[in-house]
């Protein structure tokens, strides 16, 4: 299946419906990405307007999710999609759930970032949080890119990166525990840091889900709950 493969329906309206649906998902992805960038920016650079912008974006994301849902239902009811069209609809229905949840997590990050901004900041100004945030943002960006280009190689690369996120998560976790033991006055701040890290790690998981759905869309293979080595082997076999 290729991006061009989506064209050429006998019914041009059906074509337009599917094309519009795809661009709506990309639009929703763009919003989620922007919102996450704002939230992460707020961790290192306190910004009073940030929390408001994030909340506005969240509202638009939710609206778009509902409208995409509705379009999918309508296409299922009226067109009876099959094969790759069916997989596209199923995939989109799942992807937007994950995107919406990324939005929710982004909002949490923003709220905590705003709270951290009111308190004394550590010497490194939450550099490690910011790094993890960048890592997760990149994952999300590549995930959306992979979806736009139906690029499963890129999707597999994103799946691989999820391990790095998990490692970072572990490292910050340990570091926070150390801080709390050394100086009980830092507990409140360390707990907030833990919440942010937790949200970022969840965002990585959602991006991973989207990549797995994408592999299903393109190859018709369900690779959820499958080890990455096995996924790669299966995809190689499919191409051979």
């Amino acid at each position: 299946m290729s991006t061009e493969g989506l064209g050429h329906h006998i019914s041009s309206r059906y074509n337009e419906d599917l094309e519009r649906l795809r661009s709506s998902v990309l639009e929703m992805g763009g919003m989620v990405e922007r919102q996450l960038a704002q939230a992460i920016g707020g961790i290192t650079e306190p910004d009073a307007r940030m929390i408001m912008l994030v909340a506005q974006e969240e509202l638009r994301i939710n609206q778009l999710e509902r409208s995409i849902d509705e379009d999918c239902s309508r296409i299922l009811a009226t067109r009876g999609p099959t094969a790759s069209d069916l997989r596209l609809i199923i995939t989109i229905l799942k992807i937007i759930t994950d995107l919406e949840r990324i939005g929710d997590e982004g909002e949490k990050v923003a709220a905590i970032a705003a709270r951290l901004a009111t308190r004394e900041r550590p010497n490194n100004r939450y550099r490690e949080l910011h790094n993890l945030g960048e890592l997760v943002s990149e994952m999300l960006h590549d995930t959306l890119d992979a979806f736009a280009r139906l690029d499963t190689d890129l999707a597999v690369a994103v799946l691989r990166r999820d391990r790095v996120v998990d490692e970072e998560y572990e490292a910050i976790h340990r570091q926070s525990i150390t801080f709390m033991m050394e100086d009980p006055r830092s507990i409140r701040r360390a707990l907030d840091v833990m919440w942010v890290v937790r949200s970022l790690e969840r965002i990585g998981d959602h991006a991973k889900n989207v990549c797995e759905y994408l592999i299903y869309l393109v190859h018709g293979k369900d690779v959820r709950h499958t080890r990455i080595e096995e996924i790669e082997r299966e995809l190689r076999a499919g191409k051979g």
Partner: protein, 305 residues
């Protein structure tokens, strides 16, 4: 998995378009209908893949000719016992021609010719062999057509007819078999009080079920359906579809349908045909979610033409 890609036409050097005649045999290959052609790659491993249920009929190198026109080109396929196999493909792809081979419906058309074999298992009876009596074939393999075609007789006589032809004399036995067939066709409750009424007084959907009962009366091993619901309303269609699903308990079903959702709903296996060739044969759930061939994908998603 090794995929052999070949052109639909016998002359693959001709850049996909079939030559006017095949020089060796003087045979005119089947032509595309002039509209957009599908890109076809025949997957040799998938179409004869070992699937689960036992085999009821094996089609071996079947070709069929109307005069010099080759309508079916080297079909190989296994029909699974007590399963529903759907044949789909655009008009003129040969699916009805293929279906009709199974009960020798072409015998009355002049200048037609079969090549290859259709073996009915377990005894490997070649259905299209010249020395096989078509009447015997039709007793074992019943057929239901697009438009209901009951005889101008009573409901009862329509069903009893095949039994009488078969030489059943006992009235009691005939009565039992008629009831059994009508029950099998999910029609008994609707007609039990009007068995003597003319078959043509029934509704279209009832007439079609009567034709199914008529076909069931001789205890066939296989039933052929040629677009059985295209003349029926959605409710009558749903009844026939229910019935086909239930028939799977007793017979092997082969169905030609233009309604792809119907094929997806009622069948266990689906064969996609194009220009007289079998392009893809697989479990229905795979064909409709993740077909192996691009041509199949294009056809079932409506990208053909």
């Amino acid at each position: 998995m090794e995929t052999m890609v070949k052109s639909m036409a016998s002359g693959s050097e001709m850049g996909g378009f079939p030559p006017a005649t095949d020089i060796d045999t003087g045979v005119i290959p089947i032509r595309p209908s002039g509209r957009g052609m599908l890109q076809v790659a025949v997957d040799e491993t998938r179409r004869t893949a070992a699937l689960k249920a036992p085999v009821k009929a094996r089609v071996e190198a079947l070709s069929f000719f109307y005069g010099l026109t080759k309508a079916l080109n080297d079909l190989n396929m296994e029909i699974r016992e007590k399963q529903v196999t759907a044949l789909i493909g655009p008009s003129g792809c040969g699916k009805s021609t293929f279906l009709r081979c199974f009960n020798r419906m072409h015998d009355l058309t002049p200048a037609t010719r079969y090549e290859g074999r259709i073996l009915l298992l377990p005894e490997e009876l070649d259905l299209i062999a010249a020395d096989i009596d078509p009447i015997e074939v039709r007793m074992r393999i019943g057929m239901v057509f697009q438009k209901p075609n009951p005889f101008q007789k009573s409901v009862y006589e329509n069903v009893a007819y095949g039994l009488r032809i078969r030489g059943v004399r006992s009235q009691l036995r005939i009565q039992e078999e008629v009831e059994k067939a009508l029950r099998g066709a999910a029609l008994w409750d609707e007609v039990k009080d009007r068995l003597a009424a003319s078959a043509t007084s029934l509704s279209g959907g009832q007439q079609q079920r009567l034709c199914i009962a008529r076909a069931l009366a001789t205890n066939p091993e296989m039933l052929l359906f040629d677009e059985p619901t295209s003349a029926l309303d959605p409710i009558a269609t749903a009844r026939i579809e229910e019935l086909i699903a239930a028939l799977r308990e007793q017979v092997t079903v082969l169905i030609v349908t233009h309604n792809m959702q119907q094929a997806a709903r009622v069948s266990d296996y689906t064969a996609f045909m194009y220009l007289g060739q079998l392009v893809e044969f697989d479990e229905t759930s795979r064909i409709f979610t993740n077909p192996a061939q691009k041509a199949t994908e294009d056809y079932i998603t409506g990208r053909y033409g």
